[in-house]
Every structure is written in structure tokens, then in C-alpha cells.
Symmetry: D2
Subunit: 409 residues, 4 copies
């Protein structure tokens, strides 16, 4: 009996691992590391169920890719076995370069090195390890392949990445607004001139998908308490790195020690293999075990930030349409300084202003094309009978100001 490995996924039921090569990729330590990196960073502090990982997400997105390929084949789009496996590998590895709490990390301990860059390098290394078997996958991932729809399934405004994360984040947070009809969207996919398009009658489902995405942004990803927790983490890591570089003793796991004690630029990150090697051993447990240990550290700044994170005494975020005024901001700083008895330069770790923006659909790049019944292609904003989608393309900007609640007691 030819047994295929199966993974139990609460979102889709069973996910079949389609080939031995894909199985080997999943088994690789680079990929297993994703088991310990939460997809939603700090959002579990607001939605306690949101502990799902990049591992699950990558597997789920691969499952959707597999459904999409079946659908396209059933509509007589020819896709070779080799192309299929490459597309599956590409989506499986699309997030391989994410570190723990990526956003906070990229601004502190591995400053200036984006996860996309790291993904790219790690894929190359895997390709070497697997003796070139990832050539086509990398080609698709980088949009160099002459059948762009395969790349678009991996990365576009209607890709299997987004479809999975909306589904999954919605499932694990319990925010039912994010539920999308991924099965209907996938059934409506088609390929024209090697470009991914959506059949006319799938238009409502795509609208709903864009709206769900916008809702998830404001209700989960940019939820004000999540924003506060991530800022607190970022500031704690910034403080820890400063202390480490001043030679102050700090508990940290071996991998975290490496990044706290060195000043790594983008250039030397990419040129010195040891950085990458330590990076592939870094996950959420390194950060969280440090935050917990630091919550009794003698440095007051670090101690306050970390103990508040551990005990979920999170800062308050005010989300506004206009920016905070200088006067108001100074008032918040003054109160904070007084409440916590801080030095002038220390107040920056406690009061922050942040600009947040999001648009649900960006018609200027990689637009979503609708295949009308007469065979013409239209941008989805033109195909819809409502001006909704115009609205969804607008960039919404909000201004967050974040400070400790106690200052108004």
C-alpha cells in the first residue's frame, strides 16, 4: 500500500503531504523551527487561542495550493508534476526566514535585515542541501518563471498565503469576521495568458475576502492592545541589547546571546554564516524565556517592561485619526516620568507614537483580474457593481499613542 503521510489540521481536516520530497522539506530543521514561532506574535494576549504557528500556516497554505492546482487542472490548465511540486515547495518555504516576533526583532536585534532577505538565503541553502531540487521553486518564488500564475498563487493579492492566514487566524482567534470562502474562491480561479484570474461569478467571494482581510487587520493584527504589547516587547529588546553591549549581565539563551552581544549589520549578517546559523536556532522560546528572566532584572526599565508583559499589564493605546500633538505627547511623557521616577532619556521606553496604515486592496500592483463572461479581463474594482472596492483601495492611516495606564490614576 502506498501510504501518504497525513497531518491533522483543525482548519481543513486532513492535509496530505503530497510527495517524499515535500516530506523531507518539512522534516528539515529549518522548517521544524517554525513549530516554535507563533504566526500572531503577541496577539494571543488579546485572543488567547491565537497560539498557532508559522509551521501550521505553511502546511495550510500548501494544502490550498494543492487544491488550487487540482481546480485549474480540472479546467484543462496544464500543470506538470514538476511545476506542481515546485509551487508546493515555494509556498511551503515562503515564510522560512521569519524570526520570532519578526516585527520587533527586525527593528532591534537583527536591525535592518528583513525576513524576506533571510527567506531567500535559507531557500538557497536548502537548495544546496537538496542538490538543486528547489531550482524551479525558487524561480517561481522570485517570479522569474514564464508562467506567472504559479508565482501569483504563492504571492499576490489573492494568494494561498493570504487565504490560509485569514482562515487560520480567524479560526484560532475566534473572530468569525475573518472567515472567507476559500473553497469558493479557489473553485473560481482560472488562468488566462498564464495570468491568474477569477471568474466573474467569484467576484462577491473576492470582495468578501478583501473585506475580511481589512477587518482582521483592524480587529486583530492592529488591535490596539496587540500594538501596545508589541511595542513593549520591542522596547524591552532594545533596552536589553543596549545593556548587553554595555556589558551588563543578562540571562539569555545561547542563540539570543549571540544577537544581543553583537552589532550585526545587514552586510555582515549576509556575509558571516555564523549569524545565519544562530538565526536558524532562534524562536519564540528564546525571547519569552528571556523576557521572563528579565522581569526581575536590576535594570528598572527592563524590569518594568518585562514584568508588565509577563503579567499582562499592558500599556494603553489610543488610536486616532490625527497625529498626537507635541504638547499632548510631552504631557504624557511628563506624567510617565513622574509616575515611574525616570530620567529624561528613559521615558522613550514607555511612551511612543506610531503611525499605522493599511489598505485592503492595492490596485496599483498585481491587481486582481476578473474574467468576464465575454472573455475580457477587468480589474476587480471595475468589475464590481459597487464602489466598495474603491473604498477598499484607500489607504487608511491611524495614529497610535501608547503609554502606561498608571499615569492617569
Amino acid at each position: 500500500m502506498n501510504k501518504k503521510k497525513i497531518i491533522n489540521d483543525p482548519v481543513y481536516g486532513f492535509v496530505t503531504i503530497p510527495s517524499a520530497f515535500i516530506y523531507d522539506l518539512i522534516q528539515h530543521p529549518f522548517f521544524q523551527r517554525l513549530r516554535y514561532i507563533k504566526q500572531g506574535s503577541m496577539s494571543h494576549l488579546v485572543y488567547p487561542g491565537a497560539l498557532h504557528t508559522r509551521f501550521q500556516h505553511a502546511i495550510g497554505a500548501m494544502h490550498l495550493m494543492s487544491l488550487a492546482i487540482s481546480t485549474l487542472r480540472a479546467k484543462d490548465v496544464e500543470i506538470s508534476e514538476e511545476e506542481e511540486e515546485a509551487a508546493l515547495a515555494a509556498i511551503l518555504l515562503h515564510d522560512i526566514g521569519h524570526g520570532p516576533f519578526s516585527h520587533s526583532l527586525e527593528q532591534t536585534i537583527i536591525e535592518g535585515v528583513s525576513h524576506e532577505m533571510i527567506s531567500s538565503v535559507l531557500m538557497q541553502q536548502l537548495n544546496e542541501a537538496f542538490e538543486g531540487k528547489l531550482d524551479l521553486a525558487i524561480c517561481i518564488f522570485n517570479n522569474k518563471y514564464n508562467r506567472p500564475f504559479l508565482h501569483q498563487l504563492v504571492s499576490s493579492q489573492l494568494d494561498t498565503d493570504r487565504m490560509d492566514y485569514l482562515n487560520r487566524d480567524s479560526f484560532f482567534t475566534g473572530v468569525s469576521e475573518g472567515v472567507i470562502s476559500f473553497d469558493r474562491i479557489i473553485k473560481m480561479l482560472y488562468v488566462v495568458d498564464e495570468q491568474l484570474v477569477i471568474e466573474q461569478k467569484g467576484i462577491y467571494s473576492v470582495e468578501k475576502f478583501l473585506i475580511a482581510r481589512r477587518l482582521m487587520y483592524w480587529q486583530v493584527y492592529l488591535h490596539k492592545t496587540v500594538v501596545a504589547a508589541e511595542q513593549m516587547l520591542l522596547q524591552a529588546l532594545r533596552r536589553a541589547k543596549e545593556l548587553a553591549q554595555e556589558g551588563v549581565a543578562l540571562f539569555a539563551s545561547p542563540a539570543l546571546v549571540h544577537f544581543l552581544h553583537q552589532r550585526i549589520t545587514k552586510d555582515n549578517f549576509l556575509s558571516d554564516q555564523s549569524h545565519l546559523s544562530w538565526f536558524t536556532r532562534l524562536d519564540d522560546t528564546d525571547i519569552m524565556s528571556a523576557i521572563k528572566a528579565w522581569s526581575t532584572h536590576e535594570d528598572k526599565i527592563l524590569r518594568i517592561l518585562c514584568s508588565k508583559l509577563m503579567n499582562r499589564e499592558l500599556f494603553r493605546t489610543e488610536m486616532r485619526s490625527g497625529a498626537v500633538t507635541a504638547t499632548e505627547f510631552q504631557e504624557l511623557q511628563k506624567r510617565t516620568q513622574a509616575t515611574f521616577e525616570l530620567q529624561d532619556h528613559e521615558v522613550d521606553y514607555f511612551v511612543y507614537a506610531q503611525t499605522i496604515q493599511n489598505s485592503a486592496y492595492d490596485p496599483t500592483q498585481n491587481n486582481i483580474n476578473v474574467l468576464a463572461k465575454d472573455g475580457t479581463l477587468l480589474d476587480i474594482t471595475a468589475a464590481s457593481d459597487l464602489s466598495n472596492l474603491d473604498a477598499l483601495s484607500k489607504i487608511v492611516v491611524k495614529h497610535a499613542v501608547i503609554y502606561p495606564k498608571e499615569i492617569f490614576n
Copy 2:
């Protein structure tokens, strides 16, 4: 407007936090710690979604308690506000003494100290912190209150603890066999002579509940790969503790250092407050950050166990109805020794035999009583029309033998 705090729970939708006192309990660091302790220990290595925590479970069980109390009141069972809050507090705190990976921990680094014992001590400490407000909750928890049904809702063979964990584990693993009709069961609860009973027409739902529990045992909790992973963790911790006590340098978080370097007996655990204090700072991240760091340790035993855990190269478990024979076991040991080039005494870390047993229903203690239409009470095994439940009361014993897969290559 009187605003009640709400928690988003993907299992039940919204959970309302019913009072300020309950909110304060949830905010306490002892309870916040449960955010970082997975309910399912290592089962996420088989069911990747199973990352849910004891925090979520405790909140969920509290929600079911609240539904149960509403149902009983609607049937004219009088329950005072004070009793309600106490029952809610009792179920909320029922697992407060669990450490990370409790089973493995209780056999290694805090040997001989059960989580029940710790729960009891921590509840006392909370009671002091809250100036006696937990008196009645503790009384109910310990079944000293003169209305036993309140204790039975916290802890019995049909309690809100079990109802929540079956629901929750089923939801997060994706094993739909564990789904129970908790709403139907709760609607069928009633109280006779201060004892919890189930109305006759709820009997099928209770049967299904018992069967779901049995299925979840064999399919999740005692899944052979989970059993292997937990043994590997247990052996890694055992080895680490031995090395630590021999003075070998080992990475560990401050809280874990405390437990690795001391030999703590049950007696001194309870008499020396520092042990408990460190215990309340111990969670999954301490264990997992150590396991990861140890996966490159110079000690071969520790290194192999930990790197295999991290890379999910788990041992094989054979589950049998009969015990493994001495000859067979020795053969497995011999092969293991040869494959890994081990000393005689080292093979014990790699080959283990374990007896596993479970019964879905134990009629000898705290049995489930059914209220017949004529008002008489019957044990559920007598009330059912099938001998099924007799079968479910049988203790099933299985024998596991666990060893590295490589020895048969």
C-alpha cells in the same frame, strides 16, 4: 453602562468574565503563568494545532460552570451569588498547580510532588492575598461544602473540567471524535438531595461523552508518538538533572536552574517557600529553551535526546496487549547500544517499557446518577439499555515499548 469584560474563545465564542473578583483572579501572576503552559504537553508534535494552554482551558471550564449554574437555577435549584462565585473560582483555579509538561516534571525535577498538592498550596496563598475571599471556593474544591453538587461540577466524572478539555482538545487537535454535546449535557443536569444528577433523556449524551473521552485517550493523550515524545523529554530532564548535580555546566533559565541543581523532596518543597516561588515562575518556555540549547551539549545522551526532540525525530512506540518479554527487551537494548555506541548504563535513556491504562468510566467512585422519570436514581450503567457502559468501565491496559527507530535500519 455596566461593562463586563469579554474574552474571545474560538471554542465557545464569547466568554463573559462574571465579576470583578474573578477578573482579579485571572489577572494574578499565578493565573497568567498558565498562558505559557500547554494543555496538551507534547501532543502538538502529532496534532500541530494542539498549542492551547491551561489558561484557555480554565477560562473555558469557568464558562461551562456558569452555564451549568444558569440551567440549574432555571430548574429552581437555588444557588446564591456567593456560591456561584465560589464555584466559578474553584473551577478557574483547579489546575493552578500544574507545571510545564507536568507528567515529565513530576517524575524528574520535582520528583514526588503532585500538581494537586501544589494547586492546594497555591490556592491557600491566593486566599491569603485576597483576604479570605476564596474560603468557600476552597471548601467546594475540597468537597467539604454541604452541597456536594457544587464540588461535583468542579470535579467528578461529569464535571465542567472534563467537558471543557474534551471540547477544547478536540477543537485544537482537529480530532472530531472528541466533540461532545456539552450544551445538551448541561441542559440535562439537575440536583437531587444536593447531588448532581442527569435527567433520563440525557443518557445518550452522557454515553457519547464517555466514549468521546475514551477515544481522545487512545487517539490523542496516549497516542504512541506523543507517549514517545514525553518519554524522551522525561529522560532528557532526568539526564540533565544528573549532569547538573555532578556539576556539569548546562544552560538553563533561572527557574529551571533552581530545580536542576537542588534535590527537592516532597517535604522540603512544601516547607521551603523558595521552591514554590521558583515553581510559579516555571513554564513551557523554560523547558523548551533548555531542550533546544542542550541539543548541542557535549554530553552525548543529552544531545541525542534533545536534538531528536527538536527535529521531531521521535522514537518508535510499539503498543501491545501483552508486556514485552525480557529477551525481546534485551535485544532492543543491545541493538540500541550498538547503533549509538553506548555504555551499558546509558541504554536506559533510550529504551523504555511503559504500562498504560485507562478506563472511560469508573463506577466505583463518584458515579454518574441518572434521574428516571419516576424520580428514582440509577447508576448510568444500570440506566442504559446497552451493556456498553459496562464495557466502558473495564480498565484497558496496554504495554508500550519505546526505542529509537534507527536500530532497525
Copy 3:
């Protein structure tokens, strides 16, 4: 034991019937009749699961009313027992005057008599039967009560009627786009100056609700195949009535006979109790058993329409943004006449043009008010950060032209 009746509802789980009076209303033949009237008329021909009835919908809406009242009370909005029961009765009976396939019926056999009118009369009759116990319910239903929020829960742009039908139609059709977070919306309801409002943070859920409603309109209620089937039914009933009045023999159930053979105007419908009495005995089975019998009738028009309905050979609907031109329409008529060998005047039964319009939100009446954190009230279109809702208030007009598919063979 005080036992409350429970109804199993696949949408919400258990629905409790809250009082003896509500139970008696449900048991009344007027209400039991709703068991045999499908909520979705002909939409089951496109969505085979959509067989749910107005009975289930009314019970479900009552359940949501009951949740809404609990939520409001928990926020210290005082609602008396009497007001609660009246609101529950009002929502339970809000559709009591619907006939089978209301839309088609109102244009043919009970021409000019709207279901709202009939609901009103039937409620009065029930009030007499129950000796005035429906006084307050009727007062709330007609928005004559001095606490308008109770009426708004029954009938407004965010009422329990819409919440239930979106949920329910989505559940039974399988169109997941219609799923709304009714629990979240309900939790966000509040009352200011006796008006129903929604808390600021519920705004995304309300947006999603409006969008879901729009999607369900275009994807289900105005689905082009559903539109075709309903037109065919309407034409069949029109033809049958004409034949009956010409004295042609036609099978029909006693209740349907009454309406086919009489010419009933709005005035005599309301003045002659026998019409209403026969109306309360009319349901889907009368219509469908006739359609089936008529599918072998000797009248060609009636036979074709009915046999096509029974065998689901439905006409084609073209849905366009512009109206069909006279030339084009005549061409369709000509082809139809040729294909089916029809007389000039007969072609009207087979080719129809229809204008369809819908807007998701109408800000000009009963607008949805949002309660900002500073206590001010804003229309939801002003409170949202996107111009989406402006878009949703636009009236979308489509032009349908419907004709037999065969004419293009």
C-alpha cells in the same frame, strides 16, 4: 422541577421557549402553518439545503431577541418581564401573514394584498383569541410604544429578524459569505434615550453584517436562477387563475381552489373573513401539489411552465446593468414563439423583463447609530473609517431578462 421546553435548532443549538404564553402562541394553528412555508421560496432549486421554513426563522429570531434583552439588562438597561414577553411575541409573529411563495402570490392569486397587511390582521385575531395578552406586543410591533428600541429590535436595519435570516439562510444554503457575528453584534448593542445603538467597537461587525446582507441578496435571494424559477411560478399561477376563471377544470387543493376561482380585491379580502380563513390554510404543499398536477394539464402554457418547474428545466436569466432594448426583447419573443409554436398573446408567459434593485443600507430611514466613546451618536456611515458604507447605501439596479434556454439551440 421547572421544565422549560427546548427546541433543537441546528443554527443555535438549543432554543429555550421562555414562557407558557409563548409556547401557546407557537402551538396555535396560525403559527404551526409556518412549518410548511419555506423561508427561501424557490431558492432550494439552486441551493438544495434551503428548505428551512418561516417557522424555524421565527423561533430563531425570538432566540436572538432573548439574547439581546439579556445583554441589555446586563448593561443596566431596565426591561420589565412584561416588555420582554411582548418583544418576544412581536418578533415571533412578525411574519405570521406570509403566504407560500409570497412574492408570486401577492402578484397573482391574492393580488394587491401584502403580507404585512395580513400579519397585522392575524395578530389582531390572535390577540382576541388570547384575550388581549398581545396588546403590548402589537404596540411594539407597530412602533407605538414609548421605548422605540424594542421596536427596533423587531424591525430596523439591525434587527433580530435580519440577523436570524442571514445566519439561517447562510447555514442552509451553505453560502458561507452570509455568516455574521450575531453574537458579537448583540453584545455590542446598547440603548441611549430609548433608541437602539451600537457601541463603537462593534462597528466592524455591523459593516460585515451589511456586506453579508448585500452578498446574500445577489448570491441567493436575487440569484438569477432563483429569479427565473420565481417568475415561472408567478406566470404559472397567473395562467392557472385565468383558466380557472374561464371555467377550465384544474386540480387544486380546497384552499387553492378558493383563491383560483374568486377575484379577490384588497377590500373584500379584509372585509370577508372567509378569505382570511382559507388563507390560513394555504401553504407550500397547496402550490407544489398543483404545479405537479398541472405539469400534465392540457393547456400548453400551463403544462410547459409547470413541467419545466418540476423537472428543473429553468429559464435563463441574463442580468445586466442596462435595460434590454425593445429590438432585442422582440427578438427573444419571436424566437420563443417559433420554438414553442405560440400565439402572439401567449409569449408573455415565457419571456419577461424585470428590474431588480437592492441597497445594503439605507441611511435615510431608521439609521444605525454608533455610540462613540465620548458618548456622542453618529450614523454608521460617518463613524466608519472607510467610505465603504457610503458605497453600501447606493441603490444597485440590475435588469433581468428571462427566457427559455431552448430558443438558442
Copy 4:
């Protein structure tokens, strides 16, 4: 673009119609008729959502067949395109001979003619209409094909028929106890020596399936109120047929007229094509429109039975382990006669005793075989570690006695 037709099914999402021939079968009037025959007969009077039809069930079972075939092929079981289409057709048509409210019908108006017999004849007629394209399907249906697993997928103790109806009835009734892990069971199917078997690790899912089936029997199919309603319908039809044959005027649809006024034996049913032809035009609306019309009939027996059915004033069923005694039964008859002022021979229409039996698993026929890891086959009762399944094979007998509630007022 090669477009496959898709059906929206709330249970499975999308169901693809796999071929043009299958589409043609579905479009055939014999199959379209199933749209108007409820799967659950009268059970909607207890579970209002249970209005789903044999049409939906047949489509759903076909979908599961299609999943099963894909799974088996992925395990290298060769199944030709022709075999696939035949298996799909066989399951699609397995219930084609069901009439409305089959159980009641088979005991009254088409006495002695089973739905299996009619299915067989209708399949033959379809085969002629489709010029022999159903040859293999019929061969599989009748278990004459040399690959028995295909028949077993259509009809056995673990067939796609049962899997679908448990899923579907559970979904539409809201009785969550009936939910089965059909996807897991299907993934565990395999074929050994052309026999369908289940892999060892699927054993818990099969146990759960058998238990779910038992629960659905007692909680839905044999629910005492459903049993009462079906008896009332049966008696009403029996009475109507007697009246018709005595020449009493009775409203009935043309198809029902045919069966009420003739005395049809099994032999003449099969020999006279007109009977079958009328039968294929009989559905739930014929029965229900008659019941409603008869609820004001001058015959007292008929009128009482039918008006009680319409107004849901159902008889009481007592379900007991022992049979009712003669004395007790006579007492019920006497009271009934007095309450309704009946003649001696009339009381039989109002008081009935009925024996009900069910076993969840019958090991004596078509047993479910488990494939152990060592390749041996075991009956599931032997393969399970519990004696549960022995219990499930026991035949449970219950005795129902049914009478009007009023007799105890």
C-alpha cells in the same frame, strides 16, 4: 474552459458533479422527484431543521463515494474510469425507489411493495432510457460484480450511504451526537482481496461511527414523538384508503387518487406499468396536501388524525423494555373510546402497540474487517480492545404504546 457543474451543499461545501452522464442522471425526472421527499419523514416535527431530502442525501453519498475512490487510488488500488462512474451512479440511485414517508406508505397504500423492489425496477427503466449505460452500475448495486468492495461502498455496514445520512441528519437536526469523522474513516479504507477493509488505526473512528448510528436511531429515527407522528400518518392513510374504497369522496392529488382507489398487490404493481408511472409522480406534497384537506373531513376518525397531525397535537408514546399487558392496553382503549366517543372497531386508529428494535452492528452479515499491521484481517469486534462492540451487536428491543394524551386529562 472545461466547466464542471457544482452543487452547494451545506454539509460538505461544494460537490462537483463528476461527468456529463452523472449530470444527466441527476436531471432525470425520476431523480428530480427526490427533491420533494424528505429524508427524515416526520422527524421535522421534533427537529424542525430536518427538512432535507433524499435528493440531497443521494448527492452527498455520491460525493463521499468520489472521495473514497480517490483515497483508494492514492493507495494504488486500481479503479477504472468506467468502474468509478458505475459506482457513482449506483450510489446516486440507491434510494430512487423511495416513496414519500416510505414506511407508512409501504404498510398502507402500496401495501407489500418495498422501496428496494421499486428501486430495482426504476434502475432498469433508467438503464433502458440511457441505452445500457447503467449495466455496470446495476451489476455493482446487486453485488454481482467481481470486485465486491465497490458494492460494499454502496451498501454494507460501512457504506457511503450510512456515512452521508449520519452526517446529514446530524447537521440538519442539530443533534451533534451523530457527527462522524467521515473524512478519517474514508482515509482509512483499503481493499484486500477485492474486499473493503479498514486500516487498524481507523478502528476508533469506526467505533464512533457505530455508536453515532445507534444514538441517532434512539434520539432521532425512533424518537418517541416521531414514532407517534408516523403511526398517526399511517393510520390516517389506512383510514383514507378504506373510505375511498367504500366510495366516500376524498380530496387527493391525481397520483394519490390512483393509489387510494385501487387495491394494488405486489404482483400487479410490478406487472402494470401505470402503477409505477403514477408512483414516480408521488411525493411528500401529495400526502401533506391531502392530510391538510382531510383535517376538516366529515369522517371523524380521519378528521381527528389529520387535524392533530397538522396542529402538531401528537399522540403520546410510552417506550418500555417490556410489552404492554393486555389489561393495560384495554384500559387505554377504553379511555380513548370514552374520550372520543368511538365505536368499538374505531379505537384501533387511536391506540397502538409497536415493537421497535435496532442493533448498531450486525456481525453476522457483511462484517467490517480490520486490516491489522501484520496484514491479517479481523472482524472489528475482535480487533477492538473493548467489549463495546459486542454490546453494539446486541439487538435492543423496545415496546412502544401510543395513545392520545387527552385520555389522561
